[in-house]
């Protein structure tokens, strides 16, 4: 590439990036019910899976560390949800079988913006499930107290 073509290319690139970022900023128009309906799509064999780390004394603490590193950015520090992603303190999530949450983590909901987390090894995904379900349900985000994990 000639150096003189760089300004034109840079302008093209910046325009493209602005377009992409603007698209990214649009909040997803999804009702809470439709978000949580993804939980029902977990295959039966996953729903029946027991959490192998349910009795692991370090799983909640380790899950909290993982949550802060990978999940809090979208779901909020207390898992109460943000504009980007729904609350994980909703009764639908808190009462879901652990295997269902594991399935969601493994597969993501890529068409709705939830990334695939299969890059985390299985034990780390179970640690996350253990932590999330240790937080307990909170019905409405507005009245929710800070989480005490």
């Amino acid at each position: 590439m000639k150096i003189s073509t760089l300004p034109g290319f840079s302008a093209f690139l910046l325009t493209g990036m602005c377009f992409l970022c603007a698209a990214q900023g649009k909040p997803e128009k999804t009702e809470p019910a439709s978000v949580y309906s993804e939980l029902e799509k977990a295959p039966a064999k996953y729903q029946a899976k027991a959490n192998p780390l349910a009795k692991d004394k370090d799983a909640v603490a380790a899950g909290k560390v993982l949550f802060e590193e990978h999940c809090a950015e979208c779901h909020g520090e207390n898992a109460l949800g943000t504009k980007k992603a729904p609350s994980l303190r909703a009764p639908e999530v808190q009462s879901a079988p652990p295997g269902t949450l594991f399935w969601i983590l493994t597969n993501g909901i890529v068409r709705k913006g939830m990334p695939v987390w299969s890059k985390l090894p299985e034990p780390q995904r179970w640690q996350l499930v253990t932590y999330v379900q240790s937080l307990g349900p909170v019905e409405a985000m507005e009245n929710s107290p800070p989480a005490k994990p």
Partner: protein
Amino acid sequence: MSLSRLSHLYVLLLGILLSLAGAGILVAQENPYIVAYDHNLEEPGNLEVEYYSTLGTQRGGPTFHGFWSEFEYGATAWWTTELYLSGQTTFGDSTVFTGYRWENRVRPLKNEHWINPVLYVEFEDINGADKILKEVVGHDVESDFLTPNGEARRETKREAELKLILSSNYKGWNFTENTIAEKNLTNSPWEFGYALGASRPLALKAAAQKCNFCPQHFIAGVEMYGGLGDRYSFGLHETSHYLAPGLVWNLPSGWTFKIEPAFGLNDNSHQFLLRWGVSYEIAGFGQKVSQLFKGNSK
């Protein structure tokens, strides 16, 4: 535009990006590969700024240092787009800008499967002095790198590159296989290449406290890559092949460090390459930029 003005612009761009880094921290979970790709895409709205170096030895020529920056953006959960800017220094010769690449990776399937395909499309506008060795295709050999920069940079290469990435995660391991097809958009034949990789974190469970040196933050692996000839002369002969063990350190602060020595497996390959990289992931970059243009919508 002179090279020095270009470098000032580049530093300015990096400054703007790093000032947006306050948007949030998200720990990357990078695999140690430098050539091979797995099926894990960038999280939507995140920007990963990366810098990589390749220090290469040459029989019959001076050592070179190829370097490139990557700006990797998660456009959606199923589409990652990335811009590369590359250059190189050949010791005893000169330092030159060698061009740009624009790549896109798309995940066609909604769910995780035993083998996960990702489609990769890249456009390259580089010159003949490019020495980053981001992939090996066709009949790429060590002696291609002996042409002096002044002469090599006059060759323009506008190329399309397609990859089929097939990757699996199993019991903490990642296994990936990339098939590469590259075509110079002038009247040149399709060239082919491959990259294979396997990697695993040093620990599968996370520690119960935040730590920089916990074994789960280190992922070790190995990759093998090389050419497969072209459509008229397909095969493993008359091309180069490398075996490269690597290690990546994903820090909780969002920084990632990679190092990978690569060893040439035949006489057509560079005997030794030392590759390293550093990257920083800016979480919520897309939203932050969007707010800059729209004002704070909270």
